[in-house]
Symmetry: C2
Subunit: 266 residues, 2 copies
């Protein structure tokens, strides 16, 4: 199959080809919402997207097609593109030349919480790379769902998809703007709600894990609001044994979520 789409006489799409122009618009959130589609770039993300059957079209450069014939063979529709078109669709400095147009992956909140035992909730997280990294951590830890609540960035953002390294398609995702109703839904699903908070009285070392839990993480700069902290079952701090005053969001989430996951598997 390799390279067959790059046959002589069939020019690859350029950055001005209407299909490429339309796909490029998917780098904007409004266009993603309107069309229900987004872009997944790179081998990791495309492999995962294809195995989950969410791909509509695969844009691929000649070099990338030659390097990954199995991905080209698995795609429902393959469109050859120039290197320049690939750079236009890419949100990275070093485009990999392989980009899939996929259906949005998020689901209604209630469906992802059903019989969940470990859930990760992001409230007002601003940085797409952080959201993607936490989605990857949640997937690795075997979380049943990630909920992107309040003003949290869109997990279909290119930087988030890249940081998630395929996990965007592997862990159920839900988006919900209203934070109080997320907390209600978590509790209705039988999940104990734990808020990560630097000044909490309870230290992670002393938390007993066994019951189903939802870990809640706040904005990178401002953390969680007093409202959320008052509404959760428990606020928990990561013990700081040295002189650092805090951890960043992604490493804090890794410590909290893995501590719960390893305890549950013990």
């Amino acid at each position: 199959m390799t390279g067959s789409i790059f046959r002589p006489g069939a020019d690859p799409f350029t950055e001005r080809t209407p299909r490429v122009v339309a796909a490029r618009k998917l780098t904007r959130r409004a266009e993603r919402e309107k069309t229900g589609r987004f872009l997944a770039e790179g081998v990791n993300a495309v492999t995962s997207a294809l195995s989950h059957g969410t791909v509509h079209e695969l844009f691929v450069t000649e070099r990338a097609a030659a390097a990954h014939p199995e991905l080209v063979a698995a795609a429902p529709r393959v469109s050859p593109i120039t290197d320049r078109a690939a750079a236009g669709l890419s949100e990275t400095v070093t485009p990999q030349g392989i980009i899939a147009v996929c259906s949005l992956v998020d689901r209604p909140l209630e469906t992802v919480l059903d019989s969940a035992r470990l859930v990760v909730v992001l409230v007002d997280v601003a940085e797409p790379g952080n959201a993607g990294t936490v989605i990857r951590v949640a997937d690795a830890a075997g979380a049943d769902a990630v909920v992107l609540a309040g003003d949290t960035v869109d997990p279909h953002n290119g930087k988030s998809v890249r940081a998630a390294a395929g996990s965007t398609f592997q862990v159920p995702l839900a988006r919900a703007r209203d934070i109080p109703s997320v907390l209600t839904a978590l509790r209705s699903a039988g999940l104990r709600t734990l808020a990560a908070h630097g000044y909490a009285a309870t230290s992670l070392e002393t938390v007993h894990f066994g019951d189903p839990v939802a870990w809640i993480f706040g904005n990178e700069a401002h953390g969680l609001s007093e409202h959320v902290l008052a509404a959760v079952d428990e606020a928990v701090r990561i013990p700081l044994y040295g002189k650092a005053e805090s951890l960043n969001l992604a490493t804090a989430a890794a410590v909290c979520v893995y501590t719960a996951a390893m305890a549950a598997h013990r």
Copy 2:
């Protein structure tokens, strides 16, 4: 004291003032090695640098001086700069207008390992932000030292200093090019050497912590060499309970180092 350095008639330094031109060269590794100095930018890093007495000179814009009079008061030498000069010294998109020229902080390997109980070693880590984030994690977890081994990036790099959020000055750092002699030094210091490795037979869940340990992490793309894996006491994998194939370096280090630290404090 506030703003007194910005008195009428005394113009702030511009990007062409020789002292600023000389400081700007410290964004290059070769210049840092030659002069034994580096730049620490932002309130977190400058606060930490000042409290450790490593600051030679503080460059500050009028706005930053007004916002942080306590830092201006604590600096041995303060030089007012224009916003444009601040942008030139900064390696970030949004300069904070406060940059300290500091002495390099790394120490000889043997001195940082003396009676250490938790050490973090980075081998051939390429991305400065990752090195800085792991330095912050190590500090938070109460590690006694971070060793930057082999071809690992310079921890005095601006991106590393920023990601470390002050921890560059708070946790003892050593640099050592020769990896076998680092492993020998760790063992001589009585540390059990654990290598983080995705395909290790031993899972983190089953590791007993109690003795002093050194955690060893490899390059972002290639991990640790067979040589290092063969030389350590044990290779350890983080259990992957979901579908993700791995974690990124910083989150993997957070899980490993905190699991050891929390066990040691139990």
